[in-house]
Amino acid sequence: MALSPAITSSDVGLRGAFAGPAPALVAYLTAGHPDRTASLEALRVAARWADVIEVGVPFSDPLADGPVIQRASRQALEGGMTVPGVLELVAEADVSRPLVLFSYLNPLLRYGLPRLMDDAAAAGVAGLLVTDLPAGSDSALEAGIAAGPLTRIPLVAPTTSVERMRAVSKLGGGFVYLISRLGVTGARARLPGDLSATVARVREATALPVAVGFGISTPEQARAAGQLADGVVVGSALVSALDAGGVAGLEELLMQLRDGLEAVL
């Protein structure tokens, strides 16, 4: 696998987001959903309540996503959102929280990965998470990411061995994104029963903060996951709230999630 990346200011900023007394709230939003104006406002609202914001780059074939984010991506693309458009949106939003660009590989490849990292950093992005670029899959691309200005966020799944978790974590920084369960993104009725054991395996592999995502949608689930991990990622539920209640609906859910996490104290 490629060289470990250097410690950068973006890495420190991302880690710092997990330093508070309560578990961190990581909020995912699809850029350009439901339209550019609302998306801009949604990012700013999210920055009031969340510690880290994941900005989803819409893609035509989001094969790791469930119906909610599929629909949001399609809507964003139909509204004309592009990779340069995402970077402009992020720069204009100018939020004070660390931002992670969350994307499938192909739009980034098309834009040019080195250029993308420079332009994203200039727009205020701290981290990069590429859903379909698993650690060790492309040493040239991965070396380029390690040498660039963005912190690569390591992603691990319940199927990842501890040994692989160790290697994956070394290729990135900031925090580890733990996929809580098998399957695609989207709300679920309950947390997986083995989540505690999975988090323990991640902790065995790395000292980085651990954020748990996939299937967490309610304040109660956020609190339960927050008791195990250093942060929780909420995506589909926020996208749905934005769909159903506009930016006010989004803010309502963000506040409730925040309350849920504060209750862990």
Binding site: F59, S60, D61, P62, L63, A64, G66, Q70, L77, T82, V83, Y104, L105, N106, P107, L108, L109, R110, Y111, T131, D132, L133, P134, A135, S137, D138, L155, V156, A157, P158, T159, T160, S161, R164, V168, I179, L182, G183, V184
Partner: protein, 400 residues
């Protein structure tokens, strides 16, 4: 031995720069396991005995080689057809499903999923699952469910559940997305039988190896029938599994021209086509880097073809490499020419070809440059056209 496997090309899953394993993290252990189990099976005599037994006694191999004299006279060449249409289930697809389901059994996986375009791969998967008593779920784009209704019913008769996929262009690309989503959620109990030489490693090389029986047989049959190798080997290309299957045995015969025929749909200039190699650029879709129909922002464009089996915006990574390296040449043929060839082979030879296959036949009928005197051409007759008869009748009615 029908399934004897040659030393493997691209064991690392890369064909030049193409291929790779660009998938969500959750799937990595399953792909590693599949690659290991496949590597072990390749050198396991009992695996080959079982595979050969099924290919002989269930699929009906070897498939015959038929000279198409009247079609050849019209095309100005000596045309030989490798008759994959005579396999059980009516296409080459079953060569691969038999191999993969044997591997799934070795991995202890009792639930099988598949994507399908024209329905041939879905039928072939459902068939072998029925034989082994395995649960089978087939994802099929809603547009394809409508245009290939007969195959949907066949799959259901065979005990499979067919899931109609409503997202995106509602064709093969979207069926593949949905199959991958299923697999990510059920990877520990489920094997995903990908139907072409696409997807993450090890699929492109594994599917090629299971389909390579086509070329091995055809090469020996050509030598036996004519004493010589053909001047050209021609096959249609969607993902490209029948083409890789027949090309593989001839790759080292550098005097043999390898020709892949993509679907030009309503014409390359119309934008309504499936010619990934002819009009696409390298990109990542469904786990591998290969030529892809995409826009300037890296969004995947919708493919178009009258043939559901070719209606796919990507292509197998080994074809991308064969194209770049110049070892194989790729052309495209539109809907109308394919329909003409469909009718012509039926009338002249008494063989109704699949609409996919008709693209290869149309190219043989009108090659880029006319065939030299006495040119001998081998065509992969990848499937039979029963499934297409209703669609062709509808088109004929519409234009009459």
């Amino acid at each position: 031995m029908a399934s004897r496997l040659a030393p493997e090309r691209a064991p690392d899953g890369r064909f030049g720069p193409y291929g790779g394993r660009y998938v969500p993290e959750t799937l990595i252990p399953a792909l590693e396991q599949l690659a290991e189990v496949y590597a072990a099976a390749r050198t396991d005599v009992s695996f080959h005995a079982e595979l050969d037994g099924l290919l002989t006694n269930f699929v009906g191999r070897p498939s015959p080689l038929t000279e198409a004299r009247r079609f050849g006279a019209a095309a100005g060449a000596e045309v030989w057809l490798k008759r994959e249409d005579l396999n059980h289930t009516g296409a080459h697809k079953i060569n691969n499903t038999v191999g993969q389901v044997l591997l799934a059994r070795r991995m202890g996986k009792r639930r099988i999923i598949a994507e399908t375009g024209a329905g041939q791969h879905g039928v072939a998967t459902a068939t072998i699952c029925a034989r082994f008593g395995l649960e089978c779920v087939v994802y099929m784009g809603a547009a394809d469910v409508a245009r290939q209704a007969l195959n949907v019913f066949r799959m259901e008769l065979l005990g499979a559940r067919v899931v109609s996929v409503e997202s995106g262009s509602r064709t093969l690309k979207d069926a593949t997305n949905e199959a991958i989503r299923d697999w990510v959620g059920a990877v520990e109990s489920t094997h995903y039988v990908i139907g072409s030489v696409v997807g993450p490693d090890p699929y492109p090389r594994m599917v090629r190896d299971f389909q390579a029986v086509i070329g091995r047989e055809a090469r020996a049959q050509m030598l036996q029938a004519t004493g010589q190798l053909p001047a050209a080997v021609v096959a249609c290309i969607g993902g490209g599994s029948n083409a890789m299957g027949i090309f593989d045995a001839f790759v080292d015969d550098t005097a043999v021209d390898l020709i892949g025929v993509e679907a030009a749909g309503e014409g390359l200039e119309s934008g309504m086509h499936s010619a990934s190699l002819g009009a696409g650029s390298p990109g990542v879709l469904h786990g591998s880097l290969s030529y892809l129909l995409q826009d300037d922002d890296g969004q995947v464009r919708e493919a178009h073809s009258i043939s559901a089996g070719l209606d796919y915006p990507g292509v197998g990574p080994e074809h991308s490499w064969l194209a770049d390296s110049g070892r194989a040449h790729y052309y495209s043929v539109g809907d109308r020419a394919a329909l003409d060839a469909f009718g012509e082979l039926s009338r002249l030879e008494g063989i109704i070809p699949a609409l996919e296959t008709a693209h290869a036949l149309a190219w043989v009928r009108r090659p880029a440059t006319p065939w030299p005197e006495g040119a001998r051409v081998l065509v992969c007759l990848s499937g039979r056209g029963d499934k297409d008869v209703a669609l062709v009748a509808e088109r004929a009615g519409a234009t009459a």
